[in-house]
Symmetry: D2
Subunit: 496 residues, 4 copies
Amino acid sequence: MTSYFLKASQFPLASVCLQLRYSSGRGSGSRSMSFQKNSNPSPKLQFQLERVPHMNDFFPNVPSHPNPLIHNRHFHALMNGFFVHDTDMVARQVAIDTSDPTSQTHAYFPRAGPRERVIYKPEDVKAAIVTCGGLCPGMNAVIRELVIGLWYQYGVRDVQGIQAGYRGFYSMEWVPLSPKVVDHWHKIGGTVLGTSRGGFDLEKIISSIEKSCCNVIFIIGGDGTLRGALKIMDEVTRKGLRVTIACIPKTVDNDVGIIDRSFGFQTAVEAAQAAINAAHVEAESTPNGVGLVKLMGRYSGHIALDATLSSRDVDCCLIPEVPFFLHGEGGLLEFMEQRLKANGHAVIVMAEGAGQDLIPREGENSIDDSGNVANLDIGPWLSKQLKQWWKEKYPDRLFTVKYIDPTYMVRAIPSNATDTIYCTLLAHSTIHGAMAGYTGFVGGVVNGNYCYIPLDQVAQAKHFVNVNDHTWAWVRSVSNQPDFIKPALHATTIDG
Amino acid sequence: MTSYFLKASQFPLASVCLQLRYSSGRGSGSRSMSFQKNSNPSPKLQFQLERVPHMNDFFPNVPSHPNPLIHNRHFHALMNGFFVHDTDMVARQVAIDTSDPTSQTHAYFPRAGPRERVIYKPEDVKAAIVTCGGLCPGMNAVIRELVIGLWYQYGVRDVQGIQAGYRGFYSMEWVPLSPKVVDHWHKIGGTVLGTSRGGFDLEKIISSIEKSCCNVIFIIGGDGTLRGALKIMDEVTRKGLRVTIACIPKTVDNDVGIIDRSFGFQTAVEAAQAAINAAHVEAESTPNGVGLVKLMGRYSGHIALDATLSSRDVDCCLIPEVPFFLHGEGGLLEFMEQRLKANGHAVIVMAEGAGQDLIPREGENSIDDSGNVANLDIGPWLSKQLKQWWKEKYPDRLFTVKYIDPTYMVRAIPSNATDTIYCTLLAHSTIHGAMAGYTGFVGGVVNGNYCYIPLDQVAQAKHFVNVNDHTWAWVRSVSNQPDFIKPALHATTIDG
Amino acid sequence: MTSYFLKASQFPLASVCLQLRYSSGRGSGSRSMSFQKNSNPSPKLQFQLERVPHMNDFFPNVPSHPNPLIHNRHFHALMNGFFVHDTDMVARQVAIDTSDPTSQTHAYFPRAGPRERVIYKPEDVKAAIVTCGGLCPGMNAVIRELVIGLWYQYGVRDVQGIQAGYRGFYSMEWVPLSPKVVDHWHKIGGTVLGTSRGGFDLEKIISSIEKSCCNVIFIIGGDGTLRGALKIMDEVTRKGLRVTIACIPKTVDNDVGIIDRSFGFQTAVEAAQAAINAAHVEAESTPNGVGLVKLMGRYSGHIALDATLSSRDVDCCLIPEVPFFLHGEGGLLEFMEQRLKANGHAVIVMAEGAGQDLIPREGENSIDDSGNVANLDIGPWLSKQLKQWWKEKYPDRLFTVKYIDPTYMVRAIPSNATDTIYCTLLAHSTIHGAMAGYTGFVGGVVNGNYCYIPLDQVAQAKHFVNVNDHTWAWVRSVSNQPDFIKPALHATTIDG
Amino acid sequence: MTSYFLKASQFPLASVCLQLRYSSGRGSGSRSMSFQKNSNPSPKLQFQLERVPHMNDFFPNVPSHPNPLIHNRHFHALMNGFFVHDTDMVARQVAIDTSDPTSQTHAYFPRAGPRERVIYKPEDVKAAIVTCGGLCPGMNAVIRELVIGLWYQYGVRDVQGIQAGYRGFYSMEWVPLSPKVVDHWHKIGGTVLGTSRGGFDLEKIISSIEKSCCNVIFIIGGDGTLRGALKIMDEVTRKGLRVTIACIPKTVDNDVGIIDRSFGFQTAVEAAQAAINAAHVEAESTPNGVGLVKLMGRYSGHIALDATLSSRDVDCCLIPEVPFFLHGEGGLLEFMEQRLKANGHAVIVMAEGAGQDLIPREGENSIDDSGNVANLDIGPWLSKQLKQWWKEKYPDRLFTVKYIDPTYMVRAIPSNATDTIYCTLLAHSTIHGAMAGYTGFVGGVVNGNYCYIPLDQVAQAKHFVNVNDHTWAWVRSVSNQPDFIKPALHATTIDG
């Protein structure tokens, strides 16, 4: 057993069960066994210390060295409190219902930060950084800080950039990175390394890693990318390669689970304001003007939701998590009519994944390049529906719909200050974790604290807008938005 | 015993002590007594449910009514999960050291949100809103949302704006507010209501409140303002006036304790980037160029710290929490010389409260208008010191210092999206609390969750940069910033 | 002697003809006759003083009064040079070919500015302001300044806002405007008065003007609107109504002739940068990435051209004035292939009116609501063409096209400083002209000088990109953009 | 006949004198003689073609070559109208008083643009670029475009960057520049080459130029820099060195004469809005709040003036060209009192050179480093005066002054779109001129047309705000700003 997890008996809550949830396949049973000792027969409040894989799990007797940070000329790492210990943990759940605490599981993740001892000497590290998937504000900030942190804090001098996503491992030249090269990257949108979808060829990637003798790999990408990283992790383990896999989740949709939010999200919400403002101005400047804005969010409506809450100029926010319908009592059109009557204009913000069940799907485009059911474009469809509806109902009255799709202008920009600081600390957290020996993990923020989360958990967890929660309810109360309950259902609800 | 707190016996952690910390003077001993039942003789892990005053504490048998939100035409509040219960609590502490959990106290605050029953009928509410102290991004957003929430969610029609801070209660006309009036305020910097320092005349304020029959007062201000609010709360209690006091902390310095951060802080950090960028460009564009930026922060360096971390162009960040010195080994000038030699330029960001011990204090201006020891202006002082030092050391070499004080440009702007959403939810949270009967409280965010915190706690708590914590250490490692340890001390530290 | 300077004898200025061009129908022949005296029998260099209609032309003996500006308390208008005289003129043509000056006509317009005498007393003015057509940055700034100038400079107190364009004259309530009402309008995009297309019913408008006793009408709109204004001017003249018609051209496309540029244009060019930046980042961040941006410009490519020149990240700029073709030697696709090979990415900016001859026109949508041939959407069409071409040519290579249409985000924003100052001086110029008795005119800038231009001239004049001029050639040289000359033509050109 | 149009007979154009003004010392008498032929004994309207020095003037029989632009693969320069001829001229004066045209001189400058023949072969050019003086938005854009234009249009491959101003010629390494190096520079503020004041050592500079064999020098700087360039030009001429001197005026103050405006000026005016907005918000948010903003402008108030006109929130604009006084009737304080009474707040914008006669000058700092009379800081002085005045007059009333000096934040930023396009065309114009053989010239815009102006003229000409002109009068009428006329004078004026 590694020393950095509490033995259950050390945890002086007599009535607490320490239970390690550690997905099979990621670590052998024996390693996780020791955490499953349940010293108490009647567990009530469940504490669960999340197990993050460590190189020690796979390579017994990995030697460790003092953290090079202690030799830094300018600051003195020996002061009290500088190093984080493996017993420092961060709670996943902070809001509890004290009327029934037994129903809740309290998971804890290891806190991120520099450890006193690391498993790599500077001169032994050959690091690689890859970015995959669509663009997101802050990607360059993350890359820059990985290079800066490895170079200045840990003395690593061999950092390679993989170009254009996973395919870059085997089909393109690797780009040597240094502080000088990346110095101004955080002020550029997109990713200077390049990115792409697909191109995940496990065999070629592993072969390329072996050939290059690369031993610390930083992978920045969304859930698909993280699942790829898991496969690399498995294969590396299977082959007995001593390679650290460290990930940073990237999704402008903010739909990765467990972590508070993904980097770039705040920037995207801020940038979306310009589109909503324009839609609002267009709508207000003409009789019966409607402004439509489509924002990112295939499966979750976080950007649409937050952009709506921060704009204060939106009448209705449509997200994938909440079904709606157009015609009839309680429908969107009825609501729009009321708003237009009251204010003379209205603004709708919709996530791209909203209303997929309403849009007629034609045969040809039902499957996209990745083999998934293709997303249908709600923007033009809803725009057309609104115009048809009005023309039939009020053929003589002015009515205009102005539709804006600001997607690329929202995501292909540099991170704002809030996100840059986040990217910075994410990157440094992840470096500390990798140097300390963690592997198969992501660096993330949980309840405001940087910590390490098992990669397999993050790769699975989806983060939806909780429509039963207060935030969504508040949005609706704040904007007086309908909940699109059909009359029959509605009656039931009222009765209930 | 009020119904909204758990009885200790209901809390099925046998080894847990429930202890109510409730400052004397705010509530009577009898009310808090019931929470001090300690069912377990050997408490180890301390749970503490924070007691927020409630009108019921002062006026027994305050009648309650169904929340008017259930009658909202558009959305249907009856769905499961909409209303928040008094047993929903939010943890204050989320990062724990599992090696010694007994050393930690776990405080919980009531979660914010609409309650099923409220103590005010819409037509009985006469609300007033006042803003005090210096400007901060988002003040108008908070005011706007208080008006919007009271009006649309709770049907309140009598909302008054108090002009120019506390003095406005008795010396200026009150301004009737409505959704139409405040509609675009969130896009304006400052506070349309006006603000000022001082003017706190308890007697006149109370008299004005009594005369106006105002019964729900929203006070937005910093720690001084909150202490004033406490006095109003005490006096109102003493006089038996049925007046709700609800506060929202405002401090661009982010130096109010307990809450995650104050509103407007993220906007200020973002806005500060323009000043740092300008300083960096000026410094880089000339040989031995030094850029100096002074940011807000009399007692805490949060803005300077976050602005530094998000900029990535800063060589040194000076904050009140960390002493520094100029001359000699390990001093600022030595550090600057190294940086200038290495890069040809350097950027220093300083909080206004940094280095107060170094600046010679002349008799005349030692006391400011409020009777406090006046802050000395570090900007011009440090600028002069740098020039003198260089002129003496390298009289023939070019050297320029460009000093920027962007204070008003950082604080007199509208909130960005991140802060507007925060202001919105803060305001709505606070309304829900006031309508539900809480009083003497502030609405705030703790670990990402909106909750209610006793006013007296927030009025006392200061939020400093924890220089023993990882964030500060990381800043320093990230920027390779010195820790200004004098050689002797240094040696000791190393030995230690 | 160097060859590039004219010998004095080559410059045949001895014989100059002053000729007034004044369109028949706007003023009577007798008035213009007197300007056609040709004192020289062999005119070579033609000077032409443009005749702007004046109320005196239609109502002999219109009384005049001293300009109320002389009574302004704060500044003293009597100083030398304050008032502009009718003999102050502004040249339309400033770049001349001195090798053949006889070929050129030199037109001069009356300079704008306050006149010593005005034809309206403050209390006699009933002014109305109307905005028509699509949105453009600065509309609110113009409206605001018309109100401010009339109110503070000329003491006018009856200023009415017409809502939603021409139809607002007869179908909506007029809105009384005052400095207090319009105070912050210049910081809002769009037009608070509202606007719309169509709704021009001459009879109803005239009837409404008569009924309202409105006597000074400010009309802000594009060429269609100005042609409507001409009709109003004619009808008002025909009916002998003493009504001043003063116009300010509005077109975000910058396609109104004679004037240097239309207000809002600089703001739009600035705003377009965000879209081009995003397209560039998207293109650069992926292998063979193409960014497409569609900008406004149905008949002229000014926005596309200026946005291209100021961005420096654009590979190709397509405008209506320059035909292009896709396939074959010298075509766009060949050019794109070269750029992708050279740089790995490319950015195309296109005006919405470019390539209309290439896009297949389907029967149904050939006529738009105004009866014109409908514009076809080049964006999706070109995007599809590019994808098809690549797929056929390189089925195995990555290729992405990211298409951005930022139209509303470019036009529905407030004017930037450059445009606000322009709107301000335009509005004040126009007021001075109207008060001095000019009518049937527009206020505009010609070669940097504010002046008055006959309405009929501006309503006809189109401003295209001069593709034979240096600017366009420079764009192309600067971006190395092709001129899409088909091989055969090309050969001819070379031969010629 | 209306009185405001000239009769043809009043326009004495029959007799025109062509006169070349060419300052002695720059070209030999013989060259200019030929232009002084006066074919008419009674000159009335004076035409003057400005003589720009040409290498032919100094080196007879300089060979010329076809412009390499004709070989450009992508566009075809042979089309009609592409090349500019030496007979293409641009008028300096466009607004004339037709009542007395004889009083006016009409100067014409050669139009900028590519010539059919150039004097340099690509492989023979060794170009150098230097930036001097203070920062200004757009410097990097100019540098970038010089490199781009030389490289891609003229095939030049040897372009050197001189670091840190004139001193860089002899004391620092030269930096080879290429399109790859400068690609993103236009998005960076300041100058990547570096700049400094002083360091002008003619002998060392000439010696360095000789040693390097550099033959085309681009100098970017303000009036001091241009006077230095003149000295280099003279010395180069004296020594018979075949070196082209081409300049681009740089002054954020916009105080260089002849040209319409200097690059970066529009960006600075735009950036100043943030400071004025902040001052306005601070002033409005508190009783009797005064916002003070100091903007650049030692000798001319252009930035203050334009920033005032575009902001619409300024009560008073103080510029060097207009004296003011504080106390007594008609003074600033009286005006402020009126404004505070009327509105409760006020905003003052002042150019740094305003009120220099009012500020007490203390012995020590009367001479600055350059030997000039030092500028005194009006900001803190006026701030103090205002506070003292109020304290004496209304000791019991609130009064706050918020002073903002945004200088570096206004100038150390990248150029906006309007300025970037300007910098681009300026740089390309200047390249075309240098390649065509012009020397001792600046590229500039006159009445909207790019042209070449003799260096000596620009180095002398100052551009002040014309306080007798309409623009200033309008500012004052627009803001109702006082003209600070002392009562006695005032009476006289009224009487006159």
